[in-house]
């Protein structure tokens, strides 16, 4: 019993060590800053585009009424949005304009500790208001903005950093918060791919090797004509199986050093492909940005130093 007990305690210790090494080691914040710059641009664009149809989607007479959203979530009322609290449509533009300014400041890394939190809240609020007009882009925007607020995403490549240098302040080095933010992005990306892959396993066209044809031949999605693939269905079959295999295996094989470059390259290929052929460039790009969290923070820092982008 004593021996079994000590084996068990040792085993638990190993788990605790692993957990601590996974979450609680400091990481250089440059990679997080790179993700902020890229995701910030996409988040800013996402919300800038709403300006074209602001009253249609956010006004008092919006096409998706708050009462509809309340019904959609079975009587619970936590789908909050600051737009629901506006007294009238006269406030729409000032509030939207202020939101865009905040997101822009976050993108360039100004007062990032504050603007990152506000941006995360804004992304959630806009998405909650437009239930029914969203897609994967909004979901990824949501969690990336949240995790960029968890870590010091403005510590590098930012106006904050530039101000700090001008004032002669020292460099903000590696931090556990930066690691936590990167780990949360990694974890969430794996959850996304795991369930996207498991969901596809339920579909006949994925097993039949024809699912990608469905993507190529959708008149509503199509931006580049890939219907010439009809003459090469074996290639469609192969691409379908490779995509499925890549997605299902991603949550497990993106971690080992040996397979990580392969799976990250696969992510770039799949998402660039979706972006170009199905017109979902913003979604494709934000998925690629999420994948950057799997790069080495030190390698990114060295590249940033090499190309003089330290501030």
């Amino acid at each position: 019993m004593t021996r079994l007990g000590s084996i068990f305690i040792d085993y638990c210790r190993q788990w605790v060590d692993f957990w601590n090494r996974f979450w609680f080691v400091p990481a250089d914040p440059t990679l997080l800053a790179v993700i902020r710059l890229l995701a910030g641009a996409i988040i800013f664009y996402t919300h800038l585009v709403w300006s074209l149809e602001l009253p249609t989607f956010f006004g008092n007479q919006a096409m998706i009424p708050p009462a509809y959203r309340a019904g959609l979530v079975d009587g619970t009322h936590y789908v909050w949005s600051h737009f629901d609290w506006l007294p009238g449509d006269g406030w729409l533009w000032p509030v939207h304009g202020l939101g865009l300014v905040i997101i822009f400041l976050f993108w360039i890394g100004a007062w990032t500790r504050v603007t990152a939190v506000l941006t995360a809240l804004l992304v959630i609020s806009y998405a909650n208001r437009t239930t029914g007009a969203q897609f994967g882009l909004d979901q990824i925007n949501g969690f990336l903005a949240t995790y960029l607020a968890v870590g010091p995403s403005g510590a590098r490549l930012s106006v904050d950093r530039w101000w700090a240098l001008r004032r002669g302040r020292g460099e903000q080095g590696s931090s556990i918060a930066a690691n936590l933010a990167l780990r949360l992005i990694q974890f969430h990306m794996c959850v996304v791919y795991l369930f996207a892959g498991l969901g596809k396993l339920q579909g006949d066209t994925w097993w039949l090797g024809q699912a990608l044809w469905g993507a190529f031949a959708s008149a509503e999605y199509q931006t580049m004509d890939f219907t010439w693939m009809a003459h090469h269905m074996a290639l469609v079959n192969l691409l379908t199986y490779v995509t499925l295999l890549w997605e299902v295996c991603y949550p497990f094989l993106v971690w080992p050093r040996l397979t990580r470059p392969l799976f990250l390259a696969g992510a770039v290929a799949v998402h660039a492909g979706i972006g170009l052929t199905m017109g979902m460039l913003t979604f494709g790009m934000i998925m690629i940005v999420g994948n950057l969290a799997f790069l080495s923070p030190n390698w990114i820092r060295d590249q940033a130093n090499r190309y003089g982008a330290h501030s």
Partner: protein, 282 residues
């Protein structure tokens, strides 16, 4: 306990590491290097709760079990909603399917009419905004999914639209629902009779939820269609708008080999009338 960063070694330049690692930063960074075990413990607890919430999103949406994940999902719903989590992440799953459009006819006071649809790539720009309208038409379709249309075309509208128009068969919808609820009720009675009170209670909950869902679903559809109709009237300065759902099937590879275009009308379904809205503005 050994320091948490003791095993952490800097990888070779250009190499991708398994874990983010310590940079060669100055001594001023030391306070960031380690956390006390209490702090780590508290953050770990928070992390475990948060990760559970994240994972339970796609576990409870769109499919869940009545006994375990459904009740858990309902408990976690406030967190999912407040943090905009809880998505299913089933992108292009289980199968890339047909597209759904909202076709509409706006009639104006001067007798003119506008026939259009959304999404329409030729009208809506930029692409991101096009996707918003596309997702909206898919959401409207989802609201009507499974509701049976009439078996025969509606002759007047069919003549006017130049395409077969079906009406929603409200009587059949109500009868289908009543039949499935009666079936449930019969099972509940049987379980009560056999003394399986646990199962009976579970089915009673489903029965009540279905009842609520059916009524809320009707209201929700009306709210959505009326709001979309009002927007279309405003946009096209119309007096009356009729709205129809239409599906575009995906062309088979053999169709394309035979030079049939993806936009060929034969891939379009009949129109299903889902609502009419009259301008109430003076």
């Amino acid at each position: 306990m050994k320091p948490v960063n003791e095993n952490n070694q800097r990888p070779e330049q250009g190499q991708i590491s398994d874990a983010p690692s310590l940079s060669t930063s100055s001594a001023s960074n030391e306070p960031n290097g380690t956390w006390t075990s209490t702090r780590r413990g508290l953050v770990s607890l928070g992390l475990l709760i948060y990760l559970f919430i994240v994972v339970m999103g796609p576990v409870t949406n769109p499919i869940y079990t009545e006994e375990l994940t459904g009740p858990l999902g309902r408990v976690l719903a406030p967190a999912h909603q407040a943090m905009y989590l809880g998505h299913g992440y089933r992108f292009f799953a289980p199968d890339p399917g047909p597209s759904h459009m909202l076709v509409f006819r706006v009639s104006r006071n001067d007798g003119s009419q506008v026939d259009a649809r959304f999404p329409d790539k030729n009208v809506i720009w930029p692409r991101l905004m096009y996707h918003r309208w596309f997702m909206l038409s898919e959401t409207i379709f989802e609201e009507y999914r499974g509701l049976p249309p009439s078996q025969e075309v509606e002759p007047v509208r069919t003549a006017a639209m130049g395409k077969d128009v079906l009406l929603l068969d409200q009587k059949a919808i109500e009868e289908d629902f009543a039949a499935s609820q009666k079936n449930l009720k019969d099972q509940i009675d049987l379980f009560i009779e056999k003394g399986a009170l646990g199962l009976a209670k579970q089915l009673q909950q489903i029965h009540a939820r279905n009842e609520r869902g059916y009524r809320v679903g009707e209201q929700r559809r009306k709210l959505l269609v009326d709001a979309v109709g009002r927007e279309l009237l405003r946009r096209y300065s119309g007096e009356r708008v009729e709205m129809f759902l239409q599906e575009r099937a995906i062309a088979l590879p053999t169709d394309v080999v035979l030079n049939t275009k993806l936009t060929d009308p034969r891939f379009l379904s009949e129109l299903i009338l889902i609502g009419e809205v009259q301008n109430e503005q003076p």
